[in-house]
Amino acid sequence: MNTMDFKGQYRASIVQSVLIWTVGLVGFVLGFVNQSFRLTFFCILGATVLSAAVCLPSWPWWNMNPVQWQKPKKQNSSKKA
């Protein structure tokens, strides 16, 4: 099982952006208070790694609305010349 459905893809991309930018903002404030940009950098890096673990692979929670394929139509005579 290695697909994400469309809703799942949309959600995954949102989660990814939100995660990185929120942690980025938090990291920026923390870094400013501590006067260390290293802190900010590692926050953003950490958020990216977390995002990669959660959003990249096709976990089951991204496949909650699987595409409903139509059933193939039955063919009456399949081997007509």
Partner: protein, 191 residues
């Protein structure tokens, strides 16, 4: 019997379904843009909100050694005392300070001479309080010119080198002018 799933793998995966590589690409772009955004913000915050008050208390020439006249020209060496506090320059966008003492003088051949006689790289706040006494110059004043009787002005300058962004040059207002000896050192060997 043709399966609909054959069609899907052709058209859908090329045009609509994202692949792992596309997702990884978007992730990397988010990472880079977020990092770049906050790095620029970092630089701006340091630029705008920060008002450093560096202090310089002492700049004196301690001893001027006699001028030597070598085949390449005159050479002058001296030692100095200095007390300065640059710790207020440090903020989170600063990577290091390059501090240097320049000596400027005028000679008959060159109307403007400015040389670095001493420099230091300061990377942490703890190192930024400078307290030197009898510090001999690292780089000797030398050249093809005659240096006897010349007035030399010492200035302390430094460059702020950021993690990202613009570099600035700053000069400390306290300067010291002194005069080089008028005659050569006859005791030293000059070839």
């Amino acid at each position: 019997m043709m399966d609909v799933s054959d069609l899907s793998s052709q058209t859908l995966s090329t045009k609509m379904m994202e692949t792992l590589s596309t997702r990884a690409n978007t992730l990397f772009c988010s990472f880079l843009s977020c990092l770049a955004f906050f790095a620029v913000l970092n630089h701006l915050s340091a630029y705008v909100m920060f008002d450093p008050t560096p202090r310089m208390d002492v700049l004196e020439v301690e001893k001027v050694f006699p001028i030597r006249n070598t085949r390449q020209g005159d050479q002058a060496v001296f030692s100095f005392n200095m007390e300065a506090d640059l710790s207020s320059e440090f903020h989170w966008n600063l990577k290091q300070l390059f501090v240097y003492l320049t000596a400027s003088y005028v000679t008959s051949k060159h109307k403007r001479n400015e040389v670095t006689v001493w420099d230091k790289i300061i990377e942490t706040v703890d190192d930024s309080v400078l307290s030197l006494s009898s510090e001999q110059v690292e780089y000797v004043l030398k050249g093809e010119d005659y240096l006897r009787d010349r007035n030399v002005t010492l200035r302390l300058k430094y460059r702020t080198m950021p993690i990202i962004g613009l570099m600035r040059e700053k000069v400390m207002p306290l300067t010291k002018t002194f005069k080089l000896p008028g005659s050569y050192d006859h005791g030293a060997s000059s070839r």
